[in-house]
């Protein structure tokens, strides 16, 4: 299954604003994407509560996974989003 390992780039971590932007993008993806930290249980990337509950901070490594048509493209987009600092004003 296609996966991407990304380091969270947002200065406040995967919280509030960055989480919202990421979750909305995941919900718009054509495939079901999961996100996990280390060996923990993967959770749906489009679930705001689950993504928040990861407690991912700036520098935390997260693993994205998806399967099906367009999975690679969706993962690339989401990985790029995670790597950016979404707290920055122009994000």
């Amino acid at each position: 299954m296609p996966t991407r390992t990304v380091t969270v780039g947002s200065s406040s971590g995967l919280h509030a604003r960055p989480a919202k932007i990421f979750v909305e993008a995941a919900a718009a993806a054509p495939v079901k994407v999961t996100i996990r930290v280390g060996d923990k249980r993967p959770v749906p990337a489009k679930s705001m509560l689950s993504v928040l509950a990861l407690g991912a901070k700036q520098g935390t490594e997260v693993i994205l996974e998806a399967d099906g048509d367009g999975a690679d493209q969706a993962l690339d987009g989401l990985a790029a989003l995670l790597a950016k600092d979404l707290d920055a004003d122009d994000a």
């Binding site: 406040s12 971590g13 604003r17 919202k20 749906p44 509560l49 689950s50 509950a53």
Partner: protein
């Protein structure tokens, strides 16, 4: 006003407004569990409640004028509409739990995860509780908790306002605030003054007024008239508009109706605040706080950085007085570079000028920077120290100020010991400035941050006024200036009393200045002295306030 009845509270933010009264709804209590007959119908019921919460949050986000508030509301909507949450609700219902308890349990799971993650997420637990309360309220047919958004102007009533309630407070809809508890320093009072809304606190009975009853709120007198007719409302609005116009039209130096001068000064934290002071026709700066420069610093700000910051304010105030206060931090406001370990009682610890006992270099460096900045500006720079308690401290501080080449040294009166010896202190220094918030805290042994003791921190407390009177008398005797900076200086009704007590300047946030100027201009100096006598002689703060109306 045939059927109207009056309630009385403490007016904490002047102005008159009227409208239907609406309350902040309380969080709903979970009813006892009931057996589930039709799980599918129960799931639909629960989902519909969550969907209503999402829709409500999105409606409020659409209305929000501030981008940050809108974003927070939309993030909350995402949480309330979460698919995982809905799956968890469905599972609980299929296990035989009714909708309200299933929603409670589903939020409970995330609540635990958030609490475990700690830090930022632990703080978001309150958001989850709020979302749960909203969904449960919908299921029970109760109003959603929080500040109402009826889409028309109204008077907001509450037991007290929590900081969380206020993010959502729309000044276009809320025309006045009335709370059952609280005092002049409560969150409600501070917020109301910041928003320019009339407000009455400590108003018993307000929660028993039927919703949608038309009430008239007078934020100056503390009166709340219940069941007023339209004509009364119109008349009150007309009077309020006339008063507002008189205040807005006031300008020039502060003086009583017969010309006794009371300088009106502004409190600032940096040059950024100077335009507001100018707009209010401030005669100078009565309190330039220098803490801003030192906050969040691992090391002391350098000499050049300090000079630049001070000079910006001095330059902007050329030709006028600027009273600059040396670093007011320490145990109560810890700064990283001071490396102060936890003291058992920060308010009674090493703070203000006392920091110089441990770190004299911080003070001398600051005084040198102030002197350098003052040297190439035209401002009349006065320097004062916070938290002075004894003549020795005052004498040593004055010596340090003069040694730095600065002509005017003063001290703040924030502890009763200093107020009682104001005469002695004034022989050692050039002026006094009374910080009423701290002076109240130490006089009444009531922590400034303790909302429950807000009545003790009321600047109208006669014991506080008596200490101010001692300082004022010392000022008259020595011919040296004695000012007030702090919450009390911003109270228009208290201004004539303070003038009568011998206070020669009032320093406040620029926003408060026009109303204080107008209040002073309405009284002769003889009246001010009489009001001061009445207020000091009053048995309590409420009576003191009433005595001058």
């Amino acid at each position: 006003m045939p059927d109207a009845t009056g309630l009385a509270g403490i007016g904490v933010s002047a102005g008159v407004a009227a409208g239907p009264l609406l309350r902040i709804a309380a969080a709903p209590a979970l009813p006892p569990p009931v057996p589930v007959g039709d799980p599918e119908a129960e799931v639909r019921r629960a989902y519909a409640a969550l969907a209503e919460v999402v829709a409500d949050l999105e409606r409020r986000a659409d209305r929000a004028t501030e981008a940050t508030v809108a974003e927070v509301l939309r993030a909350e909507a995402l949480m309330a509409g979460d698919e995982e949450l809905r799956d968890a609700v469905r599972e609980h219902i299929e296990d035989g739990t009714d909708a309200p308890h299933a929603i409670d349990a589903a939020f409970g799971t995330f609540r635990e995860m958030f609490a475990e993650a700690g830090g930022y997420l632990a703080e978001r637990v309150a958001d989850l509780d709020d979302l749960r309360d909203r969904a449960v309220a919908v299921l029970l047919g109760l109003p959603m908790p929080g500040v109402p958004q009826p889409g028309h102007p109204y008077v907001l009533a509450a037991r007290d306002l929590a900081p969380a309630d206020t993010a959502d407070l729309d000044p276009d809809q809320v025309v006045a605030l009335v709370t059952e508890i609280g005092g002049p320093t409560s969150h409600t009072a501070i917020l109301a003054r910041a928003l320019g809304l009339p407000a009455v606190v400590a108003c018993p009975g307000v929660l028993r007024v039927a919703e949608h009853t038309r009430v008239l709120v007078d934020g100056a007198t503390g009166r709340v008239d219940v069941g007023v007719d339209e004509a009364t409302v119109v008349a009150a609005r007309r009077d309020a508009a006339a008063e507002a116009a008189a205040v807005a039209g006031s300008s020039g130096p502060g003086r009583t109706s017969d010309g006794h001068a009371v300088k009106l000064l502004a409190n600032v934290g940096s040059a950024k605040n100077v335009p507001a002071a100018d707009q209010a026709h401030a005669e100078g700066i009565g309190l330039f706080r220098t803490e801003l420069l030192f906050l969040d610093r691992a090391s002391e700000p350098g000499r050049d950085e300090q000079i630049t910051a001070y000079r910006e304010v001095f330059r902007a105030m050329a030709g006028r007085r600027v009273v600059i206060r040396t670093l007011d931090a320490g145990a109560d406001k810890p700064l990283p570079f001071l490396h102060q370990d936890g003291e058992p009682n920060p308010a009674l610890g090493v703070r203000g000028l006392r920091v110089a006992r441990r770190r004299p270099g911080v003070l001398t460096a600051q005084l040198a920077a102030i002197a350098a900045a003052a040297a190439d500006c035209d401002a009349d720079v006065w320097v004062m120290a916070p938290m002075v308690s004894t003549l020795t401290e005052a004498t040593e501080f004055a010596a340090a100020v003069h040694e730095a080449g600065l002509p005017r040294a003063g001290v703040m009166i924030e502890v009763p010991a200093a107020a009682l010896r104001a005469g002695d202190l004034l022989r050692a220094v050039d002026f006094l400035s009374i910080g009423t918030n701290d002076l109240s805290q130490y006089t009444f042994a009531a922590d400034r941050m303790c909302g429950e003791l807000a009545d003790l921190l009321d600047p109208w407390q006669p014991a506080l006024l008596q200490l101010i009177a001692i300082c004022g008398a010392a000022g008259r005797e020595t011919g040296k200036p004695v000012g007030v900076c702090g919450e009390a200086a911003a109270d228009p009704q208290l201004a004539p009393v303070l003038a009568g007590l011998g206070i020669s300047s009032l320093s406040m946030s620029p926003r408060a200045l026009p109303a204080v100027r107008a209040a002073l201009a309405r009284h002769s100096y003889a009246e001010c002295r009489r009001l001061a006598e009445l207020a000091v002689a009053a048995p309590d703060a409420v009576a003191a306030r009433k005595s001058v109306l």
